[in-house]
């Protein structure tokens, strides 16, 4: 391994440990542990949202997808960004006004029913575990490539680091790891994009002309349709991306770390600008990699295209830039998995243990212990699952996570805030029908069954044609909530009046 790589790698490990040390001293209550005491400012939280959201799949995956598939790779960038308008206009402020630590808190501000809390916790835990396995397996493979160490050691390093952050530093450490990572990542993106643009004398048109001849796709590279030639499949994917974000537990949790809805709003604005600039820059990384690295070399390094960005860094900036970008990728992975552990732990410890088993009467000490045990449990479980999943093709897990978030969590959030007649039976049906249909449809889809060996989890013909079933499962989630509600006579307009007033005024008395 290159000594520069080792130095930068250790620098990041050390920096995050220092952050955790200081955060641990400030983590005194469960509120500190889950939500940093609600004390983050708008821009801090905005950067942390960006740090939580921009996973290695975004950074390395999209750069690779654009390098290999041209315009089609850019679809992800667009969907991941527009999703923040759903978050900003419909979800962030009522969520902040109604909730305390978790999604279930927010729904239960209206219903106060254990069954609803249990169903919401179940959907959160499912999303977190699937998303986490995808992240850890991806991380193991990446670190293996970047630093040339065995897969299991790579997973263990990431796993141990995330456990340390969350266990000792809770949300304060997690937030600052995410902020640090967001700054490093943006710096890396800007540096690479600047060098690429400089090579074209800052003439974007010239870059487009050059890339047209740089790949085996020729002029088609600049046109949509290289990868996504199935219209319904494309639209379904775009639906999952735009609606799923607003239901991802680790993103939702970030809105409880600020003091009020106004700060939640300003953090979404910071996040949207940061994430938007990031996704625009993925274009220069993708094109740059297609031109200066070349598709055959990108594919040779990793069939998924994940090495496009680091290889581009090496091609245009030598060893030092390669080492820097690898270190940034490592920091990226750490920040995202830490956020996931925390949101999984909050569903176990706060919702299931604290509110359902202990009926909200657990002492502060018990709650804190439960939170830490849950964090440890979620970490160990996901490390073990990821170690076993090394040779599985886990790409479908990410689409599954987005799909469950869009089909189970989002309908219930929107109904809770905006629908007067909505009731407990509707909430449970929305959650279970969204969760169930996403799980069942993905398990019958081409990302699980493929006639080509190794292309998916199992060999066989898919029963359901769409990789990403959002086009079917999202309406099912909404319909489940609708029918569950109208077939039950229960309603409580008085409670809804309270929820509506609280959600829209931020009154918390």
């Amino acid at each position: 391994m290159d000594p520069v790589v080792i130095v930068l790698f250790l620098a990041i490990v050390l920096l995050t440990l220092v952050i955790t040390y200081y955060a641990a001293k400030r983590t005194k209550s469960t509120g500190d542990f889950y939500t940093a005491g609600g004390g983050l400012t708008g821009w801090q939280n905005g950067l942390a949202i960006a740090g939580d959201y921009l996973s290695a799949a975004s950074f390395l995956g999209i750069a690779g997808a654009i390098a290999l598939n041209g315009f089609d790779g850019f679809f992800y960038s667009i969907g991941f960004l527009i999703a923040y308008l759903v978050v900003l206009l419909l979800v962030a402020e009522p969520l902040r006004n109604l909730g305390k630590y978790t999604l279930a808190d927010m729904i239960n501000s209206r219903f106060n029913a254990k069954r609803v809390r249990g169903a919401a916790a179940l959907s959160t835990i499912t999303i977190v575990l699937f998303y986490m396995i995808a992240q850890l397996v991806g991380a193991g493979a990446l670190i293996q490539l970047l630093f040339d160490i065995p897969y299991w050691i790579a997973v263990l390093i990431v796993g141990v680091m995330m456990t340390i952050y969350v266990l000792f530093g809770g949300m304060i450490a997690t937030s600052w790891v995410q902020i640090t990572k967001a700054v490093l990542l943006m710096a890396g993106m800007v540096i690479i994009s600047f060098i690429v643009l400089m090579k074209f004398n800052f003439n974007i048109g010239a870059m487009f002309s050059e890339v047209k001849t740089a790949t085996s796709h020729g002029a088609d590279y600049l046109n949509p349709g290289i990868k996504y030639d199935d219209p319904l499949g494309t639209i379904s994917l775009m639906l999952a991306l735009v609606l799923g974000t607003a239901g991802l537990p680790h993103i939702l949790m970030r809105f409880f770390t600020v003091k009020d809805a106004k700060t939640a709003r300003s953090s979404v604005i910071t996040a949207t600008w940061t994430i938007g600039i990031f996704y625009i820059l993925t274009l220069f990384l993708g094109f740059g990699a297609a031109i200066y690295v070349g598709q055959s070399e990108i594919l040779a390094a990793n069939p998924g295209g994940n090495m496009a960005a680091p290889l581009l860094a090496e091609a245009i900036g030598g060893n030092i830039l390669f080492a820097f970008i690898s270190a940034v990728a490592f920091a990226t992975i750490l920040a995202v998995v830490a956020g996931l552990v925390l949101s999984g732990a909050s569903a176990f410890a706060h919702d299931i243990y604290g509110e359902i088993i202990k009926k909200g009467k657990a002492s502060e000490r018990e709650q804190m212990l439960a939170a830490r045990y849950a964090a440890l449990g979620v970490s160990v479980l996901s490390i073990l699952l990821s170690l076993g999943a090394q040779y599985l093709n886990v790409a479908f897990l990410v689409s599954l996570a987005f799909c469950i978030a869009a089909s189970a969590n989002l309908p219930v959030i929107l109904y809770t805030v905006y629908w007067k007649r909505f009731n407990t039976s509707g909430a449970i049906w929305a959650l279970l029908s969204g969760l169930g249909s996403a799980l069942i449809l993905v398990s019958m889809s081409p990302s699980v069954f493929s006639p080509v060996e190794g292309a998916a989890l199992f060999v066989g013909n898919p029963i359901f044609p769409l990789d990403n079933p959002a086009l079917v499962s999202v309406p099912l989630g909404f319909l489940g909530g609708y029918f569950g509600t109208i077939f039950s006579k229960e309603y409580d307009f008085k409670k809804y009046a309270e929820v509506k007033v609280r959600a829209n005024t931020g009154y918390r008395g």
Binding site: G31, L81, L90, G205, F208, N223, R502, T505
Partner: protein
Amino acid sequence: MAQPKLSSEKDNRVDFERVESSPQFKKLMENKKKFIVPMTIFFLVFYFLLPISTSYGTFLNTPVFGDITWAWVFAVAQFVMTWVICSIYVKKANTFDKDADQIVNEQIEKGGNA
């Protein structure tokens, strides 16, 4: 730092149904709806027009500037739209905040049943 909910006794003292049916609150909800509903419909339509038109047609493949086609212009327009809506929303939300604070101060703090 956000205050957790106080005891339920206090909750019962505020008549939320009364606040909800007050003209000020109705006006706030009306203003919010007038902004959020059309904006949401607009951005979702604008967003889905891109994959729909690239999936069912090739007309976006015509060049605009040199080798840059309409598809790319439309794609970048999605980013511009996001930032513009964000900025408009912040301005709008500030007026909502004012109205909301007024409702809290005048109606709730003095007791919704006053």
